[in-house]
Symmetry: C2
Subunit: 241 residues, 2 copies
């Protein structure tokens, strides 16, 4: 019967295993312990949970409140309040749905990029100088078509006039969508719009850049499938607007 210890240890282990597991999925220690204790009782008041899980009574109210907000448990209106756990399988279902959601999104990104297996496809650039530098690089690399939509084309033109001119010279077709009153380029097709906020650039349908107002930060990709994905999105939005 020296297996006695194994028995109580088995239960303690089980309890700690579940506690740790729940902590992995976003519960604090008190929340995990409270929830397990409540599941073990089926129905209980705060006092019962506190003594079962060996937690400070006043802290248990906080855990139970937060568990209720998270949908792990139900609370009666009476006095004293009586708590019931949501069915473990129901909670599990919710968590799995969240997992599907998050990793589904991640997987889309992963799939798009692994189609071609190209490394170094997405950049994020911070600081308006670096962003302008990236835009200059894009202009220079463009061979056929350059589309830019920005509320502050004047500023960009001042910085990049030389590069834009030489692009025109070598036959690049430039389309500018900008606000009324902004200075533009000759020999480029121009469209005037109000309400522009961010800067979007697409070059040769295979490089795309999206910059925040003031060019503080931007995202950039040279992945053709991702770029065309963004183009589709943009076209869709233009039709709607």
């Amino acid at each position: 019967m020296n297996t006695d210890k194994t028995m109580i240890e088995h239960l303690t282990e089980e309890y700690e295993l579940i506690t740790e597991g729940l902590k992995q999925f976003g519960l604090t220690e008190y929340q995990a312990k409270s929830y397990i204790a409540l599941v073990a009782h089926g129905v209980a008041d705060a006092e019962t949970i506190a003594s079962t899980a060996n937690l400070p009574r006043t802290s248990v109210y906080k855990s139970l409140d937060s568990l209720h907000e998270m949908g792990y448990i139900a609370v009666s209106k009476g006095w004293p309040r009586i708590y019931r756990p949501a069915e473990p399988l129901e909670v599990k279902g919710r968590l799995i749905r969240q997992l599907e959601e998050v990793f589904g999104r991640l997987n889309i990104i992963y799939q798009v990029l692994s189609e071609k297996g190209e490394p170094q496809v997405i950049y994020t650039i911070h600081g308006s100088e670096k962003v302008l530098g990236k835009i200059r690089e894009m202009v220079r690399k463009t061979q056929e078509e350059f589309v830019i939509s920005t509320p502050e084309f004047t500023h960009i033109l001042n910085q990049l006039e030389h590069d834009l001119q030489s692009a025109l010279m070598r036959g690049v077709e430039i389309t500018i969508i900008t606000a009324p009153g902004e200075k533009v380029l000759e020999h480029a097709s121009v469209e005037r719009r109000d309400g522009l906020i961010a800067t979007d650039i697409i070059s040769d349908k295979k490089r795309a850049l999206l910059a925040s107002p003031g060019l503080e930060a931007c995202g950039y990709t040279n992945n053709p499938s991702l770029a065309s994905h963004l183009i589709n999105f943009m076209v869709y939005l233009m039709r709607e607007g």
Copy 2:
């Protein structure tokens, strides 16, 4: 084209959504951002991740190290080190398996107790006085059979002799499993064993108590199905030992 903002916002939102989602499942902010950036690149070095996710370069090493330990990413041996993400679906699979495990265990507890829908089935009691009080209560409630396995029966006997005697008087069959040299009761069946550590008590096959050494804490249940579950476990262990 005032939907421009929607476009970059859409991406930012997506990014933050995934970040928050991953944080829900146990990643820190840096870990989440690093992992997303790495998924977006497919392959990258630390510097790339840092500038993409806009994180301090030196901190990224820590995030990437921990992500590697958690199995979210793979690391090359070369110099500089090159990182690759584990496939999102693979990571998802692992997490789902963890969920199944944890909530499977919880559900067993839930099922056992909801069979009868009995509330207040499990108690945890702390402090040796309270534990002894609970044992006394069990002795008094016993009508037919009382089995106790403990290394320190002398101590318990000193405290509960009167209650145990009166149980014998009313015809209760008492079985004592304890260490050699411990004082026991007349008219009870006694078994001597070495290596006892914890105290286990089963009363009328429907109440069970498991106490830690020194009676510091114990678990108690009056749920018949749970108690018989524990009995089976005990019997199984006794056969093995």
